[in-house]
Symmetry: C2
Subunit: 215 residues, 2 copies
């Protein structure tokens, strides 16, 4: 606790420098994510990322060795946030449909607000083998977390009988597809989209009251 | 009717040639879609497409002027099929949830069976401006068709109150995302995936019987 407080103080020059450097790296990741979103990863250049981050190219290389490393950190940071949100939802003890809605909303907030859409985490193929493997491991862990939530709900009767793996992928698809159409400057705020999609995606798992109804 | 029968006869040499040429073009589109799926559009080469289609590169250029034209015809053919399926569902007079399930199943069959996944229709950005515009017009028409189905269902009480544009995009996302994970040689047949996803996506629109339930 004392240590945590000390992180905020000016006592340690090294600590301050590290915090400043971390903040700078985060600024760069956000700037890079905007460029990736605008131009696609393949077409984005280090010079353009430097411009967007208001740095000289030389200065940019001080923080990141290249485009691959930037993409890796974008994806890694996003997946860490998603995993943390899923863990928090599971630990909340809330009813399972509420847990699922919380996970979906957190995922969408992360995609639509954070890092300018964080669309970058959708392109692990662009990474060199070793970095891609690390991202795929985390991505799979995240998918398993959602699948376990769905499976538990089915088992306990909180969700309709279904194939949890398939429904999890449908949910991930509906969420990740927002990267294709959501515009931060569009008419609908990210929070509204997140709530509406979470409602729809959770409702698809609601157990049938009696029959499935046919109208 | 007589004319239809004549299409199958050998009476017209020109007709026969045209049919043969059409069939050849379709074979090439399927082969190209396999290459696009395997390698991504950017990395795919005309020589590789020719190999996959069992043609010499020269012969391939007789049918298509280049990779852009092949991608355009892949996307155009897929969208024509999707539009036709949506029109057929609307014309069926079936209850609206059944219409929606039919559209979703047709879309998924088209993505998972036809043209080796037809993933190509997901990358209109790869096309030159003029061709892309034509694809985007058709893609928008298809999205509007699904949105109109959802909106009509909401209006008539067959679907739960929702934002039809948003739900339509969630449905499209869940369907199109299958291109990322479905493996034709995997354990689950395409037809099974199509039915299960259609059930889940339609259930999300089922009107609440009384309250939304919270467990």
């Amino acid at each position: 606790m004392v240590q945590v407080l000390n992180l905020g103080s000016n006592r340690s020059g090294v600590g301050r420098l590290r915090r400043r450097s971390e903040a700078r790296r985060l600024d760069i990741l956000r700037a890079a994510a905007r460029v990736f979103r605008r131009r696609g990863f393949a077409a984005a250049g280090m010079r353009e990322i430097a411009d967007e981050a208001d740095l000289s190219p030389g200065n940019l290389y001080y923080y990141f060795s290249g485009k691959d490393e930037i993409l890796y950190f974008c994806q890694d940071r996003t997946l860490e946030q998603l995993l943390a949100a899923a863990a928090a939802a599971r630990a909340s003890g809330a009813p399972l449909p509420a847990q699922l809605r919380a996970v979906v909303q957190a995922h969408l907030r992360c995609m639509l607000d954070e890092l300018e859409g964080a669309t970058a985490h959708l392109e692990p193929e662009a990474l060199p083998d070793e970095l891609r493997r690390q991202i795929v491991v985390k991505r799979d862990a995240y998918e398993r977390a959602i699948r376990a939530l769905v499976a538990e709900g089915v088992e306990r009767g909180a969700f309709a009988p279904c194939d949890p793996a398939l429904v999890t992928r449908a949910i991930l698809g509906a969420m990740n597809w927002t990267a294709r159409w959501f515009r931060p400057d569009g008419p609908q705020p990210a929070g509204e989209v997140a709530v509406a999609l979470a409602d729809y995606l959770a409702r698809g798992l609601a157990p049938a009251p009696s029959s499935k109804g046919g109208t």
